[in-house]
């Protein structure tokens, strides 16, 4: 019979249970395997170099908003804080002192953002409530909701049926972009909080110079809400009312430098000041058109000595810009010709167009400088075509008259003679815009189609909020804007100074091509660039326009 020796100091394996043996002998191996498996499954594969946004930790669930997310917020860049002097230089006459210091790890606040302000690190006390709508943790920004389509939506619908942004789309996009700037810009421990309210006014009426009383009522509402700023100052009556209530506003449409000066430091816009537009128009006319035959006109005007007409609404804030252009032309020895004015009244535009064409035709006008709205050329071109009257139509970029969707609405026989300058960039699908990229760092769904415009307007506001420093007031906001170093990006050259409260301080030369296909909507008719160059004031070269002479 077999026997076994049992040594208690070296027990046989059967002395331990299966689990004890497993843990004793294979425990480390099991732990290693589990660890390896977890690492394999949880650590992502190699990150793609392009198209991947840096901030993936701030993604928010669908339907979330910027409001109410910033209580007790801490500055995202506080970790970069370093001892040092002020990061920026306050503008002339400024009261803002920026106690933050330059970041040690990067020059720009957001690397890859062409309009990013210089990076500022900050920690400490922001001063709490420095102005109405400003607390230690929040900056309240109002947004007026109206029961009507937006300006750009209306134009897009006129250009052809398509899916349009709903109010929910716009809100979602604004909230997401507010979150983006909260996450990436230096607001000194504060966050933008969007406060939406239902207004009683009408942008359509206000853009036509009506509805001032309702605009004022809406501005009073914003005041009562205790907002620092309003993101929807898209008409002169509303912007004016906001300024009178000491509220910073963004979005006014091509109002003059004089108007902005009178409403300083409150009203800002990504639409070029009307005066700047007028100056570019005058410079273009003086350098490229004056004293030469109207080669790009049609019919019996072709080759005639150029005779100009300035053409703009009769409202004083537009005529101020027209006068600047006319004086500039005159100073350069270039006769500005007749000053043709019209009423911003959709109901009478058809009838006005007939009279205006007759007036310009009788005065031998060969070249019209259009400082006009986008609809009057529809009627004007129609009437001109019926009269066989094809003057040169100089685009200066007011009210989206330099966009494809607007040019497509005009009579194409007339539009073939349109050329000039534009501060806009080439149209592109919204998905290729910087605004889309910013939205995608916050949400994984899709933004509104107008995400690019919303982004630029909010970027302008965010630049001022950062550059103002912690002591946020309209005055420090202005000083911060003036201290912002000029930047060049896809929306042109941005810089702010005394008498400059708007963006896009440069232009490019464009021509209307009735046969080109628009990148914006794939439809026939588009503005095309000539030399792919952008020109700041005073740098438009001489010589003839580079646009081809129409047949």
């Amino acid at each position: 019979m077999a026997s076994n020796i049992h040594d208690v100091s070296n027990p046989p394996r059967t002395y331990f249970s299966v689990w004890q043996r497993l843990l004793r002998g294979y425990g480390p191996l099991a732990v290693l395997i589990v660890t390896l498996l977890l690492m394999s499954l949880l650590i992502p594969s190699k990150v793609q170099g392009s198209g991947t946004n840096v901030n993936t930790t701030n993604n928010r669930a669908a339907g979330s908003t910027a409001s109410g997310t910033n209580a007790g917020a801490t500055d995202p860049n506080a970790a970069n804080s370093a001892a040092g002097g002020g990061a920026t230089t306050p503008g002339e006459g400024g009261t803002a002192v920026v106690p933050g210091s330059p970041c040690t790890d990067r020059p720009d606040q957001v690397t890859g953002d062409p309009y990013s302000p210089p990076c500022i690190a900050f920690s400490g006390d922001n001063g709490g409530s420095t102005y109405h709508g400003v607390t230690a943790t929040e900056i309240h920004v109002a947004d007026r909701q109206l029961n009507e389509k937006g300006f750009q939506q209306t134009l897009a619908a006129l250009a052809g049926a398509t899916l349009t942004d709903t109010p929910d789309d716009l809100k979602r996009t604004i909230d997401a972009l507010a979150q983006y700037f909260n996450d990436h810009y230096q607001f000194y421990g504060r966050k933008i909080v969007m406060d939406y309210y239902n207004g009683v006014g009408s942008n359509t009426d206000e853009l036509l110079g009506k509805g001032r009383d309702k605009a004022e009522a809406d501005a009073t509402t914003v005041k009562s809400m205790g907002s620092f700023a309003d993101f929807s100052a898209n008409s002169e009556p509303y912007a004016n009312a906001l300024a009178l209530n000491d509220i910073v506003g963004f979005g006014d449409p091509y109002l003059s430098v004089k108007w902005h000066d009178e409403h300083a430091p409150y009203i800002w816009s990504i639409a070029s000041a009307g005066t700047d537009v007028a100056n570019f128009a005058a410079e273009y006319a003086v350098k490229k058109l004056c004293g030469k035959p109207a080669d790009r006109a049609g019919g019996n005007l072709k080759g005639q000595p150029r005779k100009f007409a300035s053409f703009a609404p009769e409202n004083s804030w537009y005529q101020e810009s027209v006068q600047v252009a006319r004086e500039t032309q005159q100073a350069a020895g270039c006769d500005p010709g007749v000053n043709v004015q019209y009423q911003l009244d959709l109901g009478t535009m058809s009838n006005q167009a007939a009279n205006l064409i007759a007036q310009m035709q009788s005065q031998g006008v060969t070249t019209i400088l259009c400082g006009c709205d986008p609809i009057i050329p529809v009627f004007l071109s129609s009437r001109a075509n019926s009269q066989g009257y094809y003057p040169e139509f100089i685009i200066v970029g007011t009210a989206l008259t330099d966009t494809d969707i607007v040019g497509q609405l005009w009579d194409q026989n007339f539009a073939a003679h349109a050329f000039g300058v534009s501060s806009l960039t080439e149209p592109r699908p919204p998905q290729q815009s910087i605004g889309y990229a910013a939205y995608k760092t916050v949400r994984q769904d899709e933004p509104a189609f107008s995400v690019e415009l919303i982004y630029y307007q909010m970027a302008q506001m965010a630049i001022g909020l950062q550059m103002a420093g912690p002591n946020l007031t309209p005055e420090t906001f202005r000083d911060g804007m003036f201290a912002y170093p000029r930047k060049l990006g896809p929306a042109g050259s941005w810089g702010f100074s005394d008498h400059d409260y708007t963006t896009a301080d440069d232009v490019r030369e464009i021509c209307w091509d009735p046969n080109a296909v628009s990148n914006y909507n794939q439809k026939k008719g588009a503005f095309v660039e000539t030399d792919h160059q952008r020109y700041v004031k005073g740098s438009i070269p001489g010589g003839d326009p580079l646009c081809p002479i129409p047949p």
């Binding site: 020796i5 992502p44 690397t111 049926a161 899916l163 075509n385 609405l409 080439e426 889309y436 296909v517």
Partner: protein, 458 residues
């Protein structure tokens, strides 16, 4: 004598575990790791389809004052789908009617009393709507659905109508969809419009079963890009025309319409950029030198008379501006200031990969800004000539997409959107090395232990 096999049990187990971990690591770091798509998976990309059944289209310049009937739109972008169905759209005329009067009086037709679109979004909880249009006298139905597949679909049904007492248009249905189809293996945008028939009694003209179809299946660009127009039957004064060649039939129909000063513009199928269009069939008033020579001075050519007359009307009441505008629009075709058409059908579709975005916010380096003008491709270079057999367009016979448009690539042929290597590869290799070392150590230890265990014989 006992064998040594029991002493290698741990070694075998370690070896099995090692190979197991290797297998798991291979699959975990392979193409399907980290949620990466499978080889055959199609990315949603983007798409848009639009179909209309009918449009009464007066124009000033190129601005349309159209009243549109039966519009269906569907689109998607990545995981979001949208769809819109609108039975009637009064367009600019509706917007004007909804505005308050020039004298502050109430609007003549408030916006809430006008027909409106149902538009749905796949992010909404109620992303399917199926309703009758109750703000127009003629029956109409609207259906729109948007699912996160993504898949958007719209179907709009309209009843027969008579325009101006001289054109009878049968019932119509427009359909549009955009998104992933066939179990998410294909990306497609498709728009279809069907009109049951049209008759112009004064000329004895009848046509039935008019069909427009545009499809852009970007996962099959060779065969999946199609534009079609067809007619079921056509006749003049009861005499049947060959319907298998719509172009020829329309030539004969235009001959019969000439006496009425009207013509039918045949639909054209063509590709522009990355969009396939099948144009609507236009019934238009054509220019007549005799008629227009008579009417033009009367309607718009005598400016002093017109100006004084209309100024007087406006002084009487600012509301007359509306009538003046309508007069200008209606007289446009005769004065050269505009046009007037009745348009039937009309579809377009487009789909493709999502657009690349060059901005990397927070990344090093400047964005790659495209400063090259891509607008200069004229239609002459991108439009296919109308087919002699009606209007058809197949992707494999189409001219190449112009520069600047997104290339359409079959999803199955594309490279997958992630890369091997990186930190995880190092982790995996180190882990495998450690396991192998442990297994070898264990094996040697067991061999030593076996040599030290006393052997007993029974």
């Amino acid at each position: 004598m006992n064998t040594n096999k029991p002493g290698y049990r741990r070694t075998r187990r370690a070896a099995i575990a090692t190979f197991g971990v290797m297998a798991v690591t291979f699959f975990a770091t392979g193409p399907t790791a980290s949620g990466a798509p499978a080889q055959a998976e199609v990315k949603p990309g983007r798409g848009l389809a639009l179909a209309e059944t009918e449009k009464v289209d007066p124009r000033t310049g190129s601005l349309s004052f159209a009243i549109t009937t039966g519009r269906s739109i569907a689109g998607h972008q990545n995981t979001v789908a949208q769809a819109s169905s609108q039975a009637f759209d009064y367009g600019v005329i509706g917007s004007t009617a909804a505005a308050e009067g020039c004298d502050g009086s109430a609007s003549s037709l408030p916006a809430e009393k006008q027909p409106s679109a149902v538009q749905v979004d796949s992010r909404q909880p109620n992303s399917t709507q199926d309703v009758d249009e109750d703000k127009v006298p003629a029956p109409a139905h609207k259906y729109a659905s948007a699912q996160p597949t993504p898949y958007g679909e719209a179907i709009t049904t309209t009843a027969p109508q008579t325009i101006g007492g001289f054109i009878n248009i049968g019932g119509g249905i427009s359909k549009a969809h955009s998104g992933l189809v066939e179990d998410a293996t294909q990306r497609e945008a498709q728009a279809i419009s069907d009109v049951s028939g049209i008759s112009i009694p004064l000329a004895g003209i009848e046509m039935s079963s008019l069909h427009w179809e545009a499809t852009w299946r970007s996962t099959d660009p060779e065969n999946g890009v199609v534009g079609v127009f067809s007619i079921g039957s056509a006749s003049i004064q009861g005499q049947a025309l060959p319907a298998n060649d719509p172009s020829q039939a329309l030539v004969q129909i235009n001959g019969a319409l000439a006496s009425l000063g009207m013509s039918i513009v045949p639909p054209r199928a063509y590709k522009s950029g990355d969009v396939i269009f099948v144009e609507p069939m236009g019934i238009s008033i054509f220019p007549s030198p005799t008629r227009d020579a008579l009417l033009t001075p009367l309607l718009g050519g005598v400016q002093p008379v017109r100006q004084s007359l209309f100024d007087a009307l406006l002084q009487q009441s600012c509301k007359n501006s509306t009538y003046i505008t309508i007069f200008d629009i209606v007289s446009g075709p005769f004065t050269g200031g505009g046009s007037f058409s009745v348009l039937l059908g009309g579809v377009q579709a487009s789909s493709g990969d999502a657009y690349e975005n060059a901005f990397c916010l927070g990344c090093d380096g400047p964005p790659k800004l495209n400063t090259t003008n891509t607008n200069t491709n004229t239609l002459a270079n991108t439009v296919a000539a109308p087919s002699t057999a009606g209007a058809t367009f197949k992707g494999n016979t189409a001219p190449a997409a112009p520069p600047g448009t997104a290339a359409v690539t079959p999803a199955a042929a594309k490279k997958l959107g992630r890369a091997r290597g990186g930190a995880l590869a190092g982790v995996g290799l180190a882990g495998l090395g450690m396991i192998a070392a442990m297994a070898e150590g264990d094996r040697r230890k067991m061999r030593r232990a076996q040599r030290e265990i006393p052997q007993f014989e029974e």
